[in-house]
Symmetry: C2
Subunit: 353 residues, 2 copies
């Protein structure tokens, strides 16, 4: 598809209709104009076309977006994304129909304060603390996901391509009783593992590869989220060392007690990784709340200064990414009681196949 022609036609139409800026999310529109495909998530990922053209994106997408041929303005978790965009007061703006309202409300209130707020101001408080029925749904979902993953490890063979393996895993979920996936599984191998949000490619897995499987299912409407590391053949010393730092970071976050904020738990994991010299390679937050949505409050992130409440469920998923080499991430689901209680039952080991 000829993306340059499409972008040129868009600009002509903008000038004809006196539209100053078009702001698009990672929807069919962004795919149409750039070929880049991603699901919408709570972090702004925007294509802005106007006086300046750029993609505003979380740092975790930087490597993936490098082929798009547009300026990338990236931010880390905890940084303010909207400070990277400018809109003149009174600009005429066209907003992607399918862009989540959250982002429009944020943009709106910066440039034209309104009485509109994202419903999360209320809904997050309502939904953050789970009752036992909800926690049971999450546990049941996890057991389906884990059974499926264990069966999946038998299917990983040299020469299979990543996307085919991802589809295999999805099928096992359904076979085992899942209602569906909570997101398209991430199944990457070799150097692709350094891109934390790449889904899968046609790359064939080969002996010596690290494989990252990040997967979740829906059960009774509730979402799970788990990440495990596999290797095809025994893991290298390098891989073992990075993995051991990551699981140490999990253990440290796991030792948090009631009263900790999202920032506190994030910091416990982060300080382990930083102390080993990989702080710059841990390019995302430590985790996110999980319930009906796969990403919801409370965020386990440097900018969450609020206490994680008793009964909140969330992930702990530190990672270390070495571009051009490999990435390692391990992800657990947990609930806050007097202290953090892990819900995931699967071993944290490297699964050697």
């Amino acid at each position: 598809m000829n993306y340059e022609v499409r972008m040129k036609r868009l600009k002509e139409m903008m000038s004809q209709r006196r539209i100053d800026a078009v702001i698009l999310g990672p929807t069919s529109n962004m795919f149409y104009l750039t070929g880049f495909r991603e699901e919408q998530m709570e972090r702004p990922l925007l294509l802005v076309v106007g006086e300046e053209d750029f993609v505003l994106a979380p740092k975790i997408y930087e490597e993936q977006l490098s082929t798009v041929g547009l300026e990338i303005r990236s931010y880390r978790d905890g940084e303010d994304p909207y400070s990277l965009m400018r809109l003149k007061k009174g600009s005429s703006i066209a907003i992607d129909d399918q862009l989540w309202s959250l982002f429009l409300v944020e943009i709106l209130n910066r440039f034209l304060p309104s009485n509109i707020s994202p419903a999360s101001v209320i809904m997050k408080e309502l939904r953050e603390v789970k009752d036992e029925e909800e926690i049971r749904a999450l546990r049941s979902g996890l057991s389906i996901a884990e059974k499926s993953f264990l069966e999946f490890t038998d299917k990983v063979k040299e020469g299979e391509n990543e996307c085919r393996l991802a589809r295999e895993l999805e099928w096992l979920f359904i076979e085992n009783g899942a209602e569906g996936t909570s997101f398209s599984p991430i199944l990457t191998s070799g150097p692709n593992t350094s891109m934390p949000h790449l889904r899968c490619t046609s790359r064939k897995v080969k002996r010596g590869d690290v494989i990252i499987a990040d997967f979740g299912i829906k059960f009774k409407g509730y979402s799970t989220d788990t990440t495990r590391v596999l290797t095809l053949g025994p893991p290298s010393e390098d891989v073992k060392r990075i993995w051991s730092i990551v699981v140490e970071a999990i253990a440290e976050a796991e030792s948090s007690t009631l009263g900790s904020t999202g920032k506190d738990i994030d910091w416990r994991a982060r300080k382990v990784i930083s102390s080993k010299g990989f702080g710059e390679n841990f390019i995302h937050r430590t985790g996110h709340g999980i319930g009906i949505d796969v990403h919801e409050d409370p965020y386990i992130a440097p900018d969450n200064l609020v206490e994680v409440k008793r009964g909140s469920t969330f992930t702990i998923e530190p990672g270390i990414y070495l571009p051009g080499k490999f990435g390692i991430r391990v992800e657990e689901m947990a609930v806050m009681r007097d202290k953090v209680e892990i819900l995931t039952q699967l071993s944290r080991e490297i699964f050697t196949v």
Copy 2:
């Protein structure tokens, strides 16, 4: 889950925080508060909590929503949904974070006109006319979907439940090379078929049932959409009669030529069904554009007074719904050339299994 308690807590929080209205889409929030689950589409489907509580919904959801226990304000395609809601000027509003911006922009501009427009004002014109590369992607996708459907007809057996059959169909898509589904398949049986947007239930299919399969896949990022009727055992005379009206409506719409508007094509199908006395039972528009998104411009609907352009791709999917008895819908994909050219290759027959 106790939805009444959840709604009561929401209202308490709204009054504490002086929020006049909460407007939610068919997202995790609506599921949390009502148990109702649906994917977001281009027609507003909103839960409004405030001075009055109600669900604003397309008429096609009326039967499904009847269990929710809230006032339903429904509208037909072509009617103005927003006239069914009232918001006082200066109200403090909380908007579902994940609600598509399109709906927020529409609500906003009614109550506080702004310089913000939905990007579809431009993007639809850009994307509406497909080039041959795009039409090839749609044709390739259709052939995967059709091969899968034909294989699927062998799997439909008495005693299988609807959702299990839906998952079976999804698996065949993946096996045959689809990137995924373009929407969760609709697989309903018996009296469930009178609800055009019900996905599937645990109802077991039995001899004599009508089964509706409405399914689509993603291929090279492009979406397909097809509906076929099956019966378990020979179809009844009633079913055959209704089916023959529906396929006659398709043939009539198919005879439209370049220069027709969305309304013209819709009218050709609609007048066939009305002339047989079932006008009130054809509760939706005749079709929708299809491309990267499964629903996009041009809409084949009574309120689309714009000419359908050469190269536009869209569905033709008339249906007749007899609540408590059964519903029949057959859906084709088409492209506008000098006249309508059907892209779907599958026979329109009733598939008797």
